[in-house]
């Protein structure tokens, strides 16, 4: 085909396609990579049983998902943001500026965070203090704050195996890290007495700033190579442990449950993590998972309300449902969520 014919035909095809662009008939979901597997399981079941198309689900992180949700209203914007942490005031402000005023908050259940090591390694019976004493940057020794020099887990707590300390913890961009920081490091820091010492040593002016400073000190991990931040996902942590049998890694419960033949889980405060112990509140390290819905799209994008209702239905998010099967810890207040979804209740201001 000669050039002279090619150019007009290309332009014609492009013009034709732009005119044909039709209304969107499938949901667009984006956000947390922790919620992603649950979201795809629901999307798949939703697509094969209902009259609607299978929703398109994207990862990318909780913060990125919420930002996309707040970009505005209309077909070119997403309908649902998955999130492994609660929406922040700055997100809500951004939403309001862009005309996204009505947001529904749906809590789908809880996610446990577990410590696991190679399947053939020794058993670990951990407490938050042990973890803090092993990987915290500054620890308490004889009532004084000193840089952490513990070489093996036995140095942190004599009852633990004498295995070299090497911990793979989630990088700071992960929502998981926040939970790890507050539920493990801070707890351990307080029990070890380091928090009070940090507070006393702080040079900040008022009490609030002092507390923040002390918390920050508690969250500081060792930089001598014994505590490694993993910015990738759990598959990276798993392959690092496979290459380094002495290492201990931080995983989501569902990831661990699908790799029980390679990983041995550590107990925390004597409790072994499982869907049951987390839903009873016995296992201490867990967090709620959410998704946020743009209410303006209900009735506009087909299947939106049906998808949310399907997600929180008993056969999906309930005890013994498909998601619990995969490792989601069911929410004891699921019935309240179901009726809130039915009534399309919009979330109130953050407390």
């Amino acid at each position: 085909m000669s050039l002279i014919k090619l150019i007009p035909s290309a332009v014609a095809i492009l013009a034709a396609t732009t005119v044909i662009a039709s209304a969107r008939d499938q949901l667009q979901i984006s956000g947390s990579s922790t919620v992603l597997p649950y979201s795809t399981i629901v999307a798949e079941a939703f697509g094969e049983n209902g009259d609607f198309k299978t929703p398109v689900v994207e990862g990318g992180g909780s913060g990125a998902g919420r930002k996309k949700l707040c970009e505005g209203v209309g077909e070119a914007t997403i309908d649902i943001a998955n999130s492994s942490s609660r929406i922040s005031q700055s997100d809500i402000d951004l939403c309001n500026t862009n005309g996204v005023t009505d947001i529904m908050e749906v809590r789908i259940g809880y996610d446990g965070i577990v410590f696991a090591s190679d399947i053939n390694g020794p058993d670990f019976v951990l407490t938050p203090v042990d973890v803090f004493n092993a990987i915290g940057g500054t620890v308490v020794k004889d009532g004084a704050l000193v840089a952490n020099t513990a070489k093996t887990w036995a140095d942190a707590n004599a009852s633990l195996p004498a295995q070299d300390i090497l911990a793979f913890i989630p990088g700071t961009k992960h929502g998981t890290r926040e939970v790890f920081d507050t539920k493990v490091l801070l707890e351990g820091c307080k029990t070890a007495g380091a928090y009070d010492l940090f507070l006393a040593a702080s040079t900040e002016a008022d009490d609030g700033a002092k507390k923040k400073d002390a918390e920050k000190q508690c969250f500081t991990t060792r930089t001598d190579g014994t505590s490694v931040d993993i910015d990738g996902d759990y598959t990276e942590t798993l392959s690092r442990i496979a290459a380094n049998k002495n290492a201990m890694g931080v995983f989501g419960l569902s990831f661990y449950e699908n790799n029980t033949d390679k990983l041995k889980v550590a107990t925390m405060n004597g409790i072994s993590p499982s869907v049951e112990t987390i839903s009873k509140g016995e296992y201490p390290v867990s967090r709620p998972l959410y998704f946020y819905v743009k209410k303006a799209h209900i009735g506009v994008i087909p299947g939106l309300k049906e998808y949310i209702a399907f997600f929180v239905s008993d056969e999906m998010a309930g005890p013994g449902g498909k998601l619990a099967d995969y490792g989601l810890v069911p929410d004891p207040e699921l019935a309240a969520t179901q009726s809130a979804v039915e009534a399309e209740t919009v979330m109130g201001p953050l407390q």
């Binding site: 290309a10 396609t17 667009q28 399981i41 999307a43 398109v56 994207e58 070119a76 399947i119 390679k262």
Partner: protein, 450 residues
Amino acid sequence: MTARPLNPRAALDTRESLLVQDPRTKARNATEKRFRAYGLTAIVVALLALVWLLVSIFGNGLPAFRQTFMTFPVTLDAALLDKGGKRDPADLAKATTFTYGKVLATSLGAEVTAKGIDLGAVQPKDLIKMISEESPATLRNLVLADPSLIGTTIDFTVLASGRIDGYYKGRVTMESAALDKNISPDQLALADRLKTAGVLGMKFNAGFLTMPDASDKRPEAAGLGVAIVGSLYMMFVVLILALPIGVATSVYLEEFAPQNKFTDLIEVNIANLAAVPSIVYGILGLAIFINFAGLPQSAPIVGGLVLTLMTLPRIIIPTRAALKAVPPSIRDAALGVGASRLQTITHHVLPLAMPGILTGTIIGLAQALGETAPLLLIGMVAFVRDFPGAPPDGLFDPAAALPVQIYNWTQRGDPGFVERASGAIIVLLVFLIAMNAVAIYFRRKFERRW
């Protein structure tokens, strides 16, 4: 002796014979030998790295092309599947995949009894866990498409669950199954007995190339169908946009444009754009095509447009080189017999430059095919299960792409996805090798020397 005229070279020329190497020659020869050794080492290292890469990819990925299936007669019980009894499509749709799962489990149980296979310690209700969760959906679609099947018994082939498939591929062992909550050694032993009875077996897995992606709960059903279609759509968009625009730009710059500061500026920019990191085009695409023009997310049209931007300089540069390579005498001759400049170009210069242009285009397309980074930002790194429609409408439907599918699968928790990701790399490599082979073929076939 002093009568001999003083030769300035005599002091240097200590060599006694041409056949004996002096120290400097020896040193030079040794340097050359060392250089050759370095070169050879570099090639050997590169080859070893390639071999290691290919061995690991093929070792991990080839099993993805074979899959464990189970074939047994399935009784489609009308009492369960059509409670109204009127074969009304609305009624039929009420039977969910859950019901079809029960139908499959009952039928498998019946087959086990009929063939006299020992269930061992496996409970009849746990039989369903040996079948892929995908299969009830496949059966349901089959029945919805042809309601006359209800009440009959059909021979139906289902995918075995991911763990059983892994057992026959060496990923799962009796020891690991004992620690795994998704499968028990008893189920594996039963699978062995099913295999002996001919119910269960491995065969070529065409579904890997035709089926869409699947969730973490069913790695055995995940396929590349949507990704291949999405990649083809994007390549189509890139081809119909980048080729004409790239060729037109090159012809204008090469044959018509005056040589001034402005055209110099354009040339420098084109050369620079070829080196810009591809993620930058993704940011541009998000801003222009999605946020400004309002095109849909995750759509091959947007992916294609972004990749077009990226590919353009990579087509323009070899095209200009190909045009430059056409001897001026051809142009002079054409102009000399009275052809216009456009006629000269369309009748003589372009046909002669065509092999070079095609080679450049195909290599540009191959690069675009393997590109992931710009697609991250426009929503194509997503879980897409529905196939996009036929073009041109389908260009606006969500789709995945091959490299993106690989990236997605490497992040999944289930170990079954490791083999899928490597299998997808093999498919992508085959596409790339095919495209490069076509490019080499064109170059060889139409190459002209002057």
